[in-house]
C-alpha cells in the first residue's frame, strides 16, 4: 500500500529525515516510535503533504501512485488520513457541516453523488456510536472548546466517517487519560479491516497495549534504526531511548 524509499526531507534548510525506508501493507499496523525530534511528525507531514516540509530526495508510492505529486486534499481523497497531534479549532463551522463537506468531496472523487441529508445523518449517527463520541460534540464548531480528550476522540470519529485506507495517528495518545485512551483505541480497532492499514506514531508503549502493532520501528535522528515485532516496544519501554541513543540496541 505504502512504499517509502530513501526519503530525505528538510524544514527551513535543516535536514530532518535522512533516508527513510518503510513498507506498509494492507491489513498491517505499524508503530513508529522514537525520542523527541527524531522526525516522527515530519514523516507524517511529508505523507500528508504539509507545505512546510520540503522533500529533497526519495520516493513515496501509495497504491502504486506517486504520493509526493499529489496535493494534500487529493491525498486525503485517495485515502490517507491523519489524526492530528494538535487538532485546530475552526470557530463557527459545525462538525456536521464540516464532515458533510468532507464526505461529499470524497464521494465526488470516487464519482459518487452527494449523500442526501437523511443518509448523511444516518451515517453520522452510526459512526458516532462506533467510536463512542458524545453526540453533542458534532453539533459544536470544529474542535472549538473541546477538551484535549474530546479533540482526539473527534479525530477518530472523522476517521470513522472518511474510512481511510491508511490512517496515520500522530501522538494520538498524548494528553489522554486512561479511559479516553481506551475509547480512542477501541475506535481504531473497530475500524481495522484487512484492506486498510494504520501507522501509529507514539512516544510511549501504553497506546500499543490497546492498538497492537504488527511491526515496531524506531526512528532516531531521521532514520529508522531498528524494526521488529511488538516486543520491541516493550523492550524500549524498559530500557528507554538512551539505549538507542547510545547505539547499544542496534
Amino acid at each position: 500500500m505504502l512504499v517509502i524509499k530513501d526519503l530525505h526531507a528538510k524544514i527551513n534548510d535543516k535536514e530532518i529525515l535522512k533516508g527513510i525506508n518503510l513498507e506498509v501493507k494492507a491489513g498491517e499496523v505499524h508503530a513508529i516510535m522514537g525520542p523527541n525530534g527524531s522526525g516522527k511528525s515530519t514523516l507524517a507531514s511529508v505523507l500528508t503533504g504539509r507545505e512546510l516540509v520540503e522533500v529533497t530526495h526519495g520516493q513515496v508510492e501509495f497504491n502504486g501512485k506517486n504520493l509526493l505529486e499529489m496535493s494534500p486534499e487529493i491525498r486525503s481523497r485517495e485515502g490517507i488520513f491523519l489524526s492530528f497531534q494538535y487538532p485546530v479549532e475552526i470557530p463557527g463551522v459545525s462538525m456536521v457541516n464540516f464532515m458533510k463537506a468532507a464526505v461529499n468531496e470524497h464521494r465526488k472523487y470516487k464519482g459518487l453523488g452527494p449523500l442526501s441529508a437523511s443518509d448523511f445523518l444516518k451515517l453520522l449517527r452510526e459512526r458516532k456510536e462506533l467510536v463512542e463520541i458524545d453526540s453533542a460534540l458534532t453539533n459544536r464548531s470544529v474542535n472549538e472548546g473541546f477538551s484535549g480528550g474530546e479533540k482526539k476522540k473527534n479525530e477518530i470519529f472523522q476517521m470513522a466517517m472518511l474510512e481511510p485506507k491508511l490512517a496515520i495517528l500522530d501522538e494520538t495518545d498524548s494528553g489522554l487519560d486512561i479511559d479516553a485512551l481506551r475509547i480512542v483505541a477501541n475506535g481504531v480497532n473497530k475500524l481495522k479491516r484487512p484492506d486498510n492499514a494504520v501507522v501509529v506514531i507514539t512516544h510511549y508503549q501504553r497506546l500499543l497495549d490497546y492498538i497492537v502493532p504488527d511491526f515496531v520501528h524506531i526512528l532516531y535522528n531521521g532514520r529508522i534504526v531498528k524494526s521488529a515485532g511488538k516486543e520491541l516496544a516493550l523492550e524500549l519501554e524498559k530500557k528507554g531511548y538512551d539505549w538507542i541513543k547510545n547505539g547499544e540496541g542496534l
Binding site: P72, F84, I90, G92, E105
Partner: protein, 482 residues
C-alpha cells in the same frame, strides 16, 4: 511560508464579478453637471410638487457651502461633481398593452440578476421594488400589500400619492444638513423606495429594493424611507449590483427608518456593487447615510449588512434610541479584497431610558485592501441604565492588507454599562491544512472558515439571503488564498 500565503491569496482573490454586464436599453439622460437648473430639471421630470423642489434647492444651497469630509481612513481620488450625470432613466417604450408593461430588456436584466419581476415567479414572500439608475422599474405585490394598508412603492410615486406621509417623515432622521453626501443626495435624489406599515400590522412578506446601476458616467442617488407605525413589524432587504467599468461611479444614498411604539424594523443589506478590478481600477464609490430612529417606547431596529462590493465603502448604519426601552442592533460583515477600501461601522445614540444596543462587526481583509471599523456609542445624560455591547473582530488574509478599529465611546450617564471587545486574527495555514487533510480544496476551506467566522452575522439574514450571502463571501475572496 509567506510565498505560500501569497499563492493562496492570489488564487482566492482572482474571481470574476458575476453581475458586470451592461443592459443595452435606451436611456434618457440629462447633461453632465450640477446646478440649480439641473435640480429643477430632475424635479420636473419627476413631476414633483413645489415643496419638494424647495427641499432640493435648500439642500443644494447648503451643499455648496460644504466640503467633502476627510476624516475617514480612506484614500479617495478627487471627485469632480460637475462630471457626473445626475439623472438617467431607461426609456419607457410605448407599450400597446397595460401601462405596467415593462420593457422586456429590463425584465431580462433583472431575471439575470435573479430578481424576476413577475409576481408568480418571485420568491414567495418577497415583494420587490426594482430600481435601475434613477428610476423605479417595477414594484411587485403592491396590491396584495395595500389590502392590509401597507404602502410599498417608489419614492417618486410616494411623493405624488402620499405627500402628507412623505412630508411628515422625510429627512426627519437624516436632515439635508447632516453631512456632505446627505446634502448632495437631498438635492438630487432620483428614486428609491417608500414603505409605510400601519398600526398593528405585521407585514406578511419581506419587502426589498434592488438597486441596479446601468448607465455609464452616472451617479445613483436613491432615497429609502421606511416608517413602521405603532405595534407593526417589517423586514426589509436591499441588494445592489453594477456593471464592470473602468471609471468609478458614485452611489450616494440615504436610508431613513422610523420605528414608533412597539414597532420593529429589520433592515438587511447585501451590498455587491462592482468592486473594481484586481488592480483597483473602476468600481463604485458607495457613500451612504443610513440611520434609524427608535421613536416610540419598546421599539426595535436591526441593521444587518454584508458588504462585499464597491471600490470604496463609507457608511455607518446607525440608530437613535429615543423611546424608552428601545433596542437596536448592528450586525456587519465587511469584506475587502484587492484594492478595495471600507470604512464602515455604526453609531448608537442612547437618549431614552433603559435603551439597549448591540454591535457585532466582522471585518475580513485580503489582497491590498484596507478595512476599518468605526463605531460610536453615545449615552446621553438622560439615558438611565443604557446598555451597549460591542464586538469587533478582524480577520486578515495575507500580510498586504490592513484592518483597523476606531471605537468611540461617549458616556454621560453613570448608570450605563458599555462593553467593547475586539480581536484581530489571521486565517491560519494550519486551519486550511486541516481542511485539506480532510479532502477539502483550499478554496472551499477558506469559504468554510470565512463563513464560520461570519456566522453570527449571516444567521441574522433572512434564509434565502443567507445562502446567497454565504456564496458571495466565498466568491469575493476567491483567489485570495491557495
Amino acid at each position: 511560508m509567506t510565498d505560500e500565503q501569497d499563492k493562496i491569496l492570489d488564487e482566492v482573490t482572482n474571481s470574476e464579478y458575476k453581475y458586470g454586464f451592461v443592459t443595452d436599453v435606451e436611456t434618457e439622460m440629462i447633461p453632465k453637471g450640477l446646478n440649480e437648473d439641473v435640480i429643477r430639471m430632475i424635479s420636473k421630470k419627476k413631476e414633483e410638487p413645489d415643496w419638494m423642489l424647495e427641499f432640493r434647492l435648500n439642500a443644494f444651497r447648503h451643499w455648496q457651502k460644504m466640503e467633502m469630509p476627510t476624516w475617514a481612513h480612506l484614500t479617495i481620488p478627487e471627485i469632480n461633481y460637475q462630471d457626473i450625470i445626475y439623472y438617467a432613466a431607461p426609456k419607457r417604450k410605448a407599450a400597446p398593452g397595460s401601462l405596467d408593461e415593462i420593457d422586456p430588456e429590463l425584465k431580462a436584466t433583472f431575471d439575470k440578476l435573479g430578481i424576476p419581476l413577475e409576481e408568480q415567479k418571485m420568491l414567495t414572500g418577497v415583494a420587490v421594488d426594482a430600481v435601475m439608475d434613477s428610476t423605479s422599474v417595477k414594484t411587485t405585490f403592491r396590491e396584495t400589500l395595500a389590502e392590509q394598508g401597507i404602502i410599498f412603492c417608489s419614492m417618486t410615486e410616494a411623493i405624488k400619492e402620499h405627500p402628507d406621509l412623505v412630508r411628515k417623515y422625510l429627512a426627519s432622521v437624516v436632515p439635508p444638513t447632516d453631512n456632505f453626501f446627505a446634502a448632495l443626495n437631498s438635492a438630487v435624489f432620483s428614486d428609491g423606495s417608500f414603505c409605510y406599515i400601519p398600526k398593528g400590522v405585521r407585514c406578511p412578506m419581506e419587502l426589498s429594493t434592488y438597486f441596479r446601476i446601468n448607465a455609464a458616467n452616472t451617479g445613483q442617488f436613491e432615497r429609502t424611507l421606511i416608517v413602521a407605525d405603532d405595534d407593526s413589524y417589517v423586514s426589509y432587504l436591499e441588494g445592489c449590483t453594477a456593471p464592470m467599468r473602468d471609471e468609478n461611479q458614485l452611489h450616494a444614498a440615504i436610508v431613513e427608518i422610523i420605528a414608533m411604539e412597539n414597532a420593529e424594523v429589520k433592515y438587511s443589506t447585501v451590498q455587491n456593487w462592482y468592486p473594481g478590478d484586481k488592480n483597483g481600477k473602476g468600481g463604485i464609490y458607495n457613500f451612504v447615510t443610513k440611520r434609524g430612529m427608535c421613536r416610540g417606547k419598546n421599539s426595535k431596529i436591526s441593521w444587518t449588512q454584508v458588504e462585499t462590493g464597491s471600490a470604496i465603502t463609507w457608511k455607518y448604519p446607525s440608530c437613535i434610541l429615543l423611546g424608552d426601552n428601545s433596542y437596536s442592533e448592528f450586525y456587519s460583515v465587511a469584506v475587502t479584497n484587492n484594492y478595495q477600501q471600507a470604512d464602515t461601522g455604526t453609531k448608537m445614540i442612547h437618549i431614552g431610558k433603559n435603551t439597549r444596543s448591540r454591535i457585532v462587526s466582522k471585518g475580513i481583509s485580503a489582497g491590498f485592501s484596507n478595512n476599518s471599523y468605526r463605531g460610536l456609542v453615545k449615552v446621553l445624560k438622560g439615558a438611565e441604565n443604557a446598555r451597549n455591547f460591542s464586538q469587533c473582530d478582524s480577520l486578515l488574509l495575507g500580510d498586504k492588507c490592513g484592518a483597523h478599529t476606531f471605537p468611540y465611546l461617549e458616556v454621560e450617564n453613570p448608570s450605563s454599562i458599555v462593553e467593547h471587545e475586539a480581536t484581530t486574527s489571521k486565517i491560519g495555514e494550519d486551519q486550511i491544512f486541516y481542511c485539506n487533510q480532510r479532502g477539502l480544496s483550499t478554496e472551499d476551506a477558506v469559504g468554510l472558515i470565512i463563513n464560520g467566522y461570519a456566522k453570527e452575522v449571516l444567521n441574522k439574514l433572512p434564509m434565502e439571503f443567507a445562502v446567497e450571502a454565504q456564496k458571495l463571501l466565498q466568491i469575493s475572496l476567491e483567489g485570495s488564498v491557495g
